[in-house]
Symmetry: C2
Subunit: 219 residues, 2 copies
């Protein structure tokens, strides 16, 4: 694999799409797939598909294309979806309470194993089976429970401070729900959730007169 | 413009990216941009950029490329981002309470003007300045307040029923937070928000060793 800095972000974003398309081919019992088929399904050129996948190794077989199961396994391994990740939520407000029991996380391999908040009125209360812990417990629990991902669900004004504490505690990535850009000094990975982008896409579809379900809004 | 069915979904998804890139060029006072520059910024081929934009008209000028302000205005108009949209939330639970005061919606041209829930214990209470109304008030308010978008923030088991009522009331689009695929009989547009996709992207970045902020996870 080339150095991480050489892999373009749009390529990373497309990997979920490749994986989902491959999984639907497995369900339909199709053994092989060409870059052209993958491209057509996702609205990409076959050259783009080959270029994206080439960042991770030589997967294609001349005259055959890609072996679906083989490529799926390799992508899953590269992308870390073949193991489970422990995550912790910081912030027991509306967003934190909404994501705690979010069943799709578990299905994708993520287990939320702790929730933190410094508000005395919520510390000790239970949310989705987990007692809310004070922030001072964070370093110990991140270590003990092998927490790799911190989910920031606090107001914008606290998000940076919480992020700094999560980084010090040793998480590898931050999922940020706060409407603010976080500074992580290149120490960890960050992804942000902005609902307004989904609403914007919906408005586009309405304006373009496109009805019916759009597949989930994925990168 | 060609019939809507001819515009590929991935093209629609890329329009926000084009728009954002163009807006950053305006901020930097750059008057023109080539399909190659746009493509490089977004990890697309220049051919893909030209093909995407050609669905909406002939925007390029030979030897010049695209005039940034002109293309921005045309895209904004096509995409309906040059006017405001009224939206209503159904479901006064955690997600509903989290999105009601979401400032980024207003900044992108969306105004949440009502919230509905049939739980007697929340009807009449106030959330972000709006009284929670019973579902029976929905048809009247959609008409009176020109509500075009319904935000479904109810548990999965109620989502389809709520969607049917929103469609009957006359909304044009549904933003769905419930973890279920909605059937809209091609009557309206639908976009779904799935937090687990963002978490998956974050895990990819960690696995690939990519640190630092990823731009917001956009389609």
């Amino acid at each position: 694999m080339p150095p991480r800095s050489k892999i373009p972000r749009p390529t990373v974003k497309r990997l979920s799409l490749y994986l989902r398309e491959l999984e639907s081919h497995i369900e339909r019992d199709q053994q092989t797939i060409s870059s052209k088929q993958l491209g057509t399904a996702l609205g990409l050129t076959d050259a783009q598909v080959r270029k994206d996948l080439a960042y991770f190794g030589q997967f294609g077989h001349p005259g055959i294309g890609y072996r679906v199961q083989e490529l799926t396994n390799k992508l899953r391994h590269i992308l870390g979806t073949d193991h489970r990740w422990n995550a912790a939520v910081v912030g027991a407000g509306n967003i934190g309470r909404a994501v705690m029991p979010y069943a799709r996380f578990a299905r994708k391999g993520f287990d939320i194993v702790a929730i933190f908040d410094d508000n005395p009125s919520v510390i000790g209360t239970e949310i989705a089976g987990h007692k809310v812990r004070p922030m001072r417990d964070l370093p110990k629990l991140v270590r003990e429970r092998d927490i790799k991902i911190g989910i920031v669900a606090v107001p914008a004004s606290f998000a940076q401070q919480v992020t700094d504490e999560l980084i010090r505690a040793g998480v590898l990535g931050i999922l940020n729900f706060a409407p603010v850009r976080l500074d992580v000094h290149d120490a960890v990975s960050v992804a942000s959730v902005d609902f307004s982008l989904s609403l914007e896409q919906l408005a586009f579809q309405i304006s373009l007169g496109m009805t019916g379900p759009l597949e989930e809004l994925s990168p």
